[in-house]
C-alpha cells in the first residue's frame, strides 16, 4: 500500500468517525467545544500511534488465537500511561476531559486498527496508519466541536488556556455580540444532529466529486472519438 493511500484513507475515505462510525461515544460526549475536541483527539491519536506500533513490533510473537486479549492488554496499558501523563502535565485539560480519557480504551477504532492493520503490517506503516487514522478522528472531533461551540456559545477557542497555558487566555474569539447561545447545540442531541449533518456534507462532497470525475472522463472519451 502506498503511503499517500494511507494518508488519504486515514483522513478521508476511511475516516474512523465519518465513515467507519467508530469511537462515537467519546466523540459525541466531548465535542462541545473546539479545545475539548482537540484535547481528546490528540490523546486518541497518541494512543493509536503507540498501540499500532507496539502491536506491529510484537506481531510475530503473538499467537493468532490470543491476539485479541493481547491487543486489549497493550491498549489498556498505553491508555493508562497516557492518562497518568496527562494528569501530570496537562492537569487542567485532564480535569475537563475527565472520564473520557480512560474511556479511550473503549474506542473501537483503536482495537480495530490493531486487528485490521497493525497486526499485518511492518512498524513504519503501522505508525503512519495510526497517525493518520488518529488525525482523521481528530479532524472529525474538531469540526464537530467547532460547529457546536459556534452555534452553542457563539465563541471559538474558549478554554484554550487549558491546553496552551496562560498566554492563550486571550485566544477566545467572540463571533457574535450578545449571543445567548443555542442550547440544543451544546446538549447531547446537538452532538448527534451535528455529526449527522457533517456526515451528510462529506457524502455529498464525495458524490459531487465522483460526478465531476465521470463527466471529465466522458469528455475526454468524446474528444478521442
Amino acid at each position: 500500500m502506498q503511503y499517500s493511500q494511507l494518508i488519504k484513507e486515514g483522513l478521508w475515505t476511511n475516516n474512523q468517525a465519518f465513515v467507519a462510525l467508530l469511537g462515537l461515544c467519546p466523540l459525541l460526549a466531548v465535542s462541545n467545544t473546539l479545545i475539548n475536541s482537540l484535547g481528546l483527539g490528540l490523546a486518541t491519536t497518541m494512543t493509536l500511534v503507540c498501540s499500532n506500533v507496539t502491536v506491529s513490533v510484537i506481531r510475530k510473537a503473538i499467537p493468532n488465537e490470543i491476539r485479541l486479549p493481547v491487543f486489549v492488554l497493550v491498549i489498556a496499558s498505553i491508555v493508562t500511561a497516557i492518562e497518568l501523563m496527562m494528569n501530570a502535565y496537562f492537569f487542567e485539560l485532564y480535569k475537563v476531559l475527565g472520564i473520557f480519557v480512560p474511556l479511550i480504551v473503549t474506542n473501537c477504532a483503536i482495537i480495530g486498527r490493531a486487528e485490521s492493520f497493525a497486526f499485518r503490517n511492518p512498524p513504519h506503516k503501522a505508525f503512519l496508519d495510526g497517525l493518520f487514522m488518529g488525525l482523521g478522528f481528530t479532524l472529525a472531533l474538531v469540526l464537530l466541536g467547532s460547529v457546536r461551540e459556534i452555534l452553542g456559545a457563539g465563541t471559538l477557542f474558549s478554554g484554550a488556556a487549558l491546553m496552551f497555558g496562560k498566554s492563550a487566555e486571550s485566544w477566545t474569539v467572540f463571533l457574535f455580540e450578545d449571543y445567548s447561545g443555542l442550547l440544543l447545540a451544546v446538549l447531547p442531541p446537538g452532538a448527534f444532529i451535528g455529526l449527522g449533518l457533517l456526515i451528510a456534507l462529506k457524502n455529498s462532497l464525495d458524490i459531487q466529486r465522483k460526478a465531476y470525475r465521470k463527466e471529465f472522463k466522458e469528455q475526454s472519451v468524446d474528444k478521442m472519438n
Binding site: A61, I66, L73, A88, F91
Partner: protein
C-alpha cells in the same frame, strides 16, 4: 499460550507502574496547587498566612454536604482565626448535587461562595458559574446579622436573592445550602478554629 499472555500482562503492568512512579510526584503537586488556587480565590490576598491545605478539621453534620464527612479549611493570620472555608453540597439541584465552597469570616460574614461541580442544564442552570454571570457574588458580604434567616430565599419565594431567568430550582438549592452553612457557622463558630479536633457530632 497462557504463558505468553501472562508475560504480556506482566510487561504491561511493569510499564504502567513505571509511568505511575514517574508521574506520581507531579500529580500530587498538581492536585495540591489546584486546591490552593481554589481556596485562595475565596479570600482577599494577604488576609491569611497559614498553610491552608494542612490546617483542616474533619466534621460530620447532618445538614451539610448531604450528611457526609466535611473537611473544613481554616485561614489564620499570626495564628489568629480569620475565616473558614466549608465545602458543602446542595442536594436538590435540578440535576442532582451542586458542590459548593462557602468562605465565612470569623465574624460570620460570607466572604465568597463558589460552585465547584454541578450537572445543571448548560445555558439555563449554570449561571452560578462565575464565568457566566456574577450571580454567585450576591452572597458576598451577607450574614445572618444583616439578613434575617427568613430572607435567605430567592425572590420568588419571598426572599432577597434573584433567581435566574428560566431557572428557579438551581438558585433555590444554592441559597438553601449557603443558608444552612451560615447557620452552622453561627452555631459552632469559634469551635471550628480550635487547633485540635473538637468532639463534634
Amino acid at each position: 499460550m497462557a504463558l505468553i499472555l501472562g508475560l504480556f500482562a506482566v510487561v504491561g503492568i511493569g510499564a504502567v507502574t513505571w509511568v505511575y512512579n514517574v508521574s506520581k510526584a507531579k500529580i500530587i503537586e498538581n492536585e495540591r496547587a489546584a486546591l490552593i488556587k481554589q481556596l485562595s480565590a475565596l479570600l482577599p490576598e494577604g488576609s491569611y498566612d497559614n498553610d491552608i491545605v494542612n490546617d483542616t478539621l474533619e466534621w460530620t453534620e447532618p445538614d451539610l454536604a448531604a450528611g457526609g464527612p466535611l473537611t473544613i479549611y481554616r485561614f489564620r493570620k499570626n495564628t489568629l482565626p480569620v475565616a473558614v472555608v466549608i465545602p458543602t453540597v446542595a442536594p436538590d439541584g435540578y440535576n442532582g448535587n451542586i458542590k459548593l465552597l462557602v468562605a465565612i469570616t470569623k465574624e460570620g460574614v460570607v466572604s465568597a461562595v463558589r460552585a465547584v461541580a454541578h450537572h445543571e442544564t448548560p445555558g439555563l442552570g449554570d449561571k452560578m458559574e462565575l464565568e457566566r454571570s456574577d450571580w454567585i457574588d450576591l452572597f458576598k458580604g451577607q450574614s445572618l446579622a444583616l439578613l434575617p434567616e427568613s430572607q435567605w430565599r430567592v425572590k420568588r419565594d419571598g426572599g432577597t436573592f434573584d433567581q435566574f431567568t428560566g431557572a428557579t430550582i438551581t438558585p433555590r438549592a444554592i441559597v438553601k445550602a449557603v443558608k444552612k452553612t451560615v447557620i452552622f457557622f453561627e452555631t459552632y463558630g469559634d469551635e471550628l478554629f480550635l487547633p485540635l479536633q473538637p468532639k463534634g457530632r
